[in-house]
C-alpha cells in the first residue's frame, strides 16, 4: 500500500558508556505505514536506541538514517518531519492544554490559521474538548499521554518516535491510545514505539526483542511466534495451578520431564517443549498420581509473552550492570 518504503534505518548501532555496552550492534528498518515495536525489560537499551535514532546521542559505532538523511546532531533540516514523545511527560506542567499545543504549533512554524485548525483537531483527538484551559499538571495520566501524543503529531510528522508512551496508564486509556496510533499509521506515518507491555506488542506490525542491548529476535509477531519459539505450548487448565507447577518442576529436576519453559499464564499453566505429544501423557500421569484434577489440556498458539520469556531464557544472561 505504501510500496513498503523505508523511512528509517539503524545500522549496527553500538553505544558504550565507559566499559558498559548499553546498545550492541542493533540494526532494523522502519517502513511507511507500519508500527515497529521495540520490546525489552527496563534497562535493556530501548531509550538509548531511541535517543540515537533522534540524534540526541551520538552512537559509538554504526549510523542512523531517517527519511534518507543521516542523523549526526547537525541534521536539523529533517527535524520538522520527525515527531517524538519522550518517556517523561514532554509538555509543560504549568501551561494549559491550549498553551502547550500552541507552543508546539509555533515551534514547528505553523502559520496561525493552520495552527488554530490543528490545535482544535488535537484537542478533539485527545478528548480534551472543554478542558482547553486546564493546566496539564491537573490532567489524569491517560489524558496527559493522549495530549502529549496529539502534540507530538501536531506538525504531521512522517516518522514518529514514542518512548514507553503508555507506561503507568490504565488499560482502557492504553486501548484508546493504540486506536489513535492505528489511525495515524493508516495515514502513512511510520511509528517506532518502545514498550514493555506484551499485549501491546501484538498490535505492532514488526517487532524486535532487545535484551542487554542486543536484539535477540526480530520480525512480524507471526514470524516471531513461528520461527523463534523453541517448541510448542501445552496449556493446562487446572484449579491447582501452583501445585501443578511445583510437581512439574520437581519432575524436571529429577530428570523425569523435559521442557524449555514453565510459566503461570493467568490462571493457566503454560509449558513449552519441542515434543508436546510425548510429554502430555507423561504429565497427565504425573498429575493424576498426585490427585490433581485437570479440567483440560491442549496445545495452543503461543502468545508473544510465551515467546518473549522463552527467548530471554534461551539467552544465558550476562552480568547485569544496573
Amino acid at each position: 500500500m505504501y510500496d513498503n518504503q523505508i523511512t528509517g534505518r539503524a545500522e549496527n548501532l553500538v553505544k558504550k558508556f565507559g566499559d558498559f555496552k548499553a546498545v550492541n550492534k542493533v540494526s532494523f528498518e522502519l517502513h511507511r505505514g507500519e508500527i515497529f515495536g521495540f520490546l525489552g525489560p527496563n534497562g535493556s537499551g530501548k531509550t538509548t536506541t531511541i535517543r540515537m535514532m533522534l540524534g540526541l546521542l551520538t552512537p559509538t559505532q554504526g549510523q542512523v538514517e531517517i527519511l534518507g538523511t543521516k542523523m549526526d546532531g547537525k541534521s536539523s533540516s529533517i527535524l520538522p518531519r520527525i515527531g517524538y514523545m519522550s518517556q517523561s511527560f514532554s509538555l509543560y506542567n504549568d501551561l494549559t492544554v491550549l498553551q502547550n499545543l500552541n507552543y508546539y504549533g509555533q515551534a514547528y512554524g505553523l502559520d496561525s490559521s493552520e495552527r488554530k485548525l490543528r490545535v482544535q483537531e488535537a484537542v478533539a483527538m485527545s478528548g480534551l474538548t472543554g478542558s482547553e484551559h486546564t493546566h496539564t499538571k491537573d490532567l489524569a495520566g491517560g489524558w496527559r499521554q493522549r495530549l502529549a501524543l496529539s502534540a507530538a503529531i501536531l506538525h504531521q510528522p512522517e516518522v514518529l518516535f514514542l518512548d514507553e508512551p503508555t507506561a503507568g496508564v490504565d488499560p482502557i486509556s492504553r486501548r484508546s491510545f493504540w486506536d489513535l496510533l492505528y489511525t495515524l499509521v493508516a495515514q502513512g506515518i511510520s511509528v517506532f514505539i518502545t514498550t514493555h507491555y506484551m499485549d501491546e506488542a501484538e498490535h505492532c506490525h514488526k517487532l524486535a526483542f532487545i535484551q542487554h542491548g542486543e536484539i535477540i529476535a526480530q520480525g512480524s509477531p507471526e514470524e516471531i511466534k513461528k520461527n523463534i519459539m523453541p517448541g510448542q505450548v501445552l496449556e493446562i487448565d487446572t484449579d491447582q495451578a501452583d501445585k501443578v507447577i511445583r510437581i512439574l518442576r520437581e519432575a524436571y529436576q529429577k530428570g523425569k520431564l523435559d521442557y524449555k519453559d514453565l510459566e503461570l499464564h493467568g490462571s493457566l499453566v503454560h509449558l513449552i517443549t519441542p515434543q508436546v505429544q510425548s510429554h502430555s501423557r507423561n504429565i497427565k500421569k504425573l498429575l493424576t498420581a498426585d490427585n490433581i484434577s485437570i479440567n483440560s489440556m491442549s496445545v495452543v498458539e503461543p502468545t508473544l509473552e510465551d515467546v518473549f520469556i522463552a527467548c530471554m531464557r534461551d539467552k544465558v544472561p550476562e552480568v547485569h550492570h544496573e
Binding site: 547537525k74 527535524l79 520538522p80 517523561s88 514532554s90 515551534a107 514547528y108
Partner: protein, 349 residues
C-alpha cells in the same frame, strides 16, 4: 558540592576576618618640615593606611578621589610646624574622605583623628611642657566627598543593589536548562527544529528583561527610600547594567547546562554569588585583603560592576573616569560569554 561550602567559608574567612588595613591615602605636604614628616610617618605606622602618593597640588587628589583610587587625602598646610610650635598656635589639617565608600572612609577618619590626637598630646606635653588645657589644639577641617553625611546607606544600598542584580540574573539563567532537564522537556525541545543559537537566545532574552526590570525597580527603592543620589547619567547606568547582565548571563547559562538538577544549579549560584559578595567591599574593603585576593578581585565582574555603579550614583562619573572598569568588564564578558556559548552549544548538540 559538599566540601565546596567548607572551602568557601575558609576563603571568605581568610579574606575578611582581618582589621581594615591598606586604605589608600594621598598626602599633599605643603610644609616639608620634620613635624609634618613625623605626622605622615605616624599615619603610616597605624597600618590602616597605604601611602598611595605624595603630591604637590590639589588636582591629583581630585582625580584620585574621582577614580576611587584613594579613600582619604590629607592636606598639610605650609604653616603646620610654625603653628604647632607657637604657644596657642592652631595647626590646621584638611582631610578629604571618599564618602562613596563610607565604611572604609569612616575607618580612615577614625585612624587620622586618633593619630592627630596622640600627636597633639605629645607636642603639648613633651615639646612645650604645657598643660593640655592651655593649648588650643588642632584645627581639623574634614570634608567628605560624594556623601556628605557619610551615610551608610550610600555605601550599603548600592552594594546590595549590585548584588541583587547579580543573583537575580544568575538564578534565572541557571534555572533555564536545569529546569527543563529536570522536567524532561529539554529532550523534546532538542528534537524541535530550533538551532542551538535560537534556543540560547530564547532562554537569554527573558532573563535580560527580568534583570533590567528588576534593576530599575531596585534602583527606585535605593533612590527614593534611601535617598541615594543618581548623580551620573541614568542612560549610561542602564546601558552598563545591560552589559553586566549579559556577562552574568553567560555564567548562569553555563551553570545551567552543567547542572543535572535545579538543586545543583541553585547551590552553584549560591557559591559563586558568595565569592563575588566578598569582593564587593561590603564586609571589608578589597584593599585590606591579602594580596592574592586583591588580584583575584580583578577577574570578578561584580567587583568592576560595583565600582561603576557607585561611581555613577555617588560621583556622577562618566565614561572618561569609568573606562578602566568598563574595559575590564568588557574583557571579562567576552571571555566568559565565548566560553559559555561554546560550552552550551556543544552540550545542546
Amino acid at each position: 558540592m559538599l566540601i565546596g561550602g567548607a572551602i568557601e567559608l575558609l576563603m571568605v574567612g581568610w579574606a575578611t576576618s582581618r582589621p581594615i588595613t591598606n586604605l589608600p591615602l594621598m598626602i599633599w605636604d605643603q610644609d616639608h618640615s620634620p613635624a609634618s614628616r613625623e605626622l605622615v610617618l605616624a599615619l603610616e605606622n597605624t597600618g590602616t593606611f597605604l601611602l598611595e602618593d605624595q603630591v604637590q597640588s590639589l588636582s591629583p587628589i581630585e582625580d584620585a578621589l574621582n577614580h576611587g583610587d584613594v579613600i582619604a587625602a590629607l592636606i598639610i598646610p605650609p604653616d603646620y610646624s610654625t603653628q604647632l610650635t607657637s604657644p596657642l598656635g592652631k595647626p590646621t589639617l584638611s582631610v578629604i574622605l571618599n564618602g562613596a565608600e563610607s565604611i572604609p572612609a569612616r575607618e580612615a577618619q577614625r585612624a587620622i583623628e586618633g593619630v592627630v590626637h596622640d600627636l597633639g598630646e605629645q607636642v603639648v606635653i613633651q615639646h612645650l611642657g604645657l598643660d593640655p588645657e592651655q593649648t588650643a589644639g588642632f584645627n581639623f577641617s574634614l570634608r567628605v566627598w560624594f556623601n556628605e553625611s557619610l551615610s551608610e546607606a550610600y555605601y550599603t544600598t548600592p552594594a546590595e543593589l549590585g548584588l541583587m542584580l547579580e543573583f537575580t540574573i544568575l538564578l534565572f539563567a541557571a534555572m533555564t536548562f536545569s529546569r527543563e532537564k529536570e522536567f524532561g522537556t529539554l529532550e523534546q525541545m532538542l528534537v524541535m527544529p530550533f538551532s542551538s543559537l535560537e534556543i540560547i537566545l530564547g532562554k537569554a532574552i527573558p532573563v535580560i528583561l527580568i534583570g533590567l526590570a528588576d534593576f530599575g525597580l531596585m534602583l527606585g527603592v535605593v533612590h527614593f527610600a534611601f535617598h541615594v543620589p543618581i548623580r551620573g547619567s541614568g542612560l549610561l547606568l542602564f546601558v552598563l547594567a545591560l552589559g553586566y547582565t549579559i556577562v552574568e548571563l553567560g555564567k548562569g547559562m553555563a551553570i545551567s547546562v552543567f547542572s543535572k538538577s535545579q538543586h545543583q544549579a541553585f547551590l552553584l549560584v549560591l557559591m559563586i554569588g558568595m565569592i563575588d559578595f566578598m569582593f564587593l567591599g561590603y564586609a571589608v574593603p578589597v584593599e585590606s585583603m591579602p594580596r592574592i585576593m586583591q588580584l583575584l578581585a580583578n577577574i570578578i565582574p561584580a567587583h568592576h560592576w560595583l565600582n561603576i555603579l557607585r561611581s555613577i550614583l555617588l560621583k556622577g562619573s562618566g565614561l572618561s573616569s569609568l573606562w578602566p572598569s568598563i574595559l575590564a568588564l568588557v574583557i571579562l564578558g567576552l571571555i566568559i560569554n565565548t566560553f559559555s556559548l561554546l560550552y552550551v552549544r556543544r552540550k545542546l548538540e
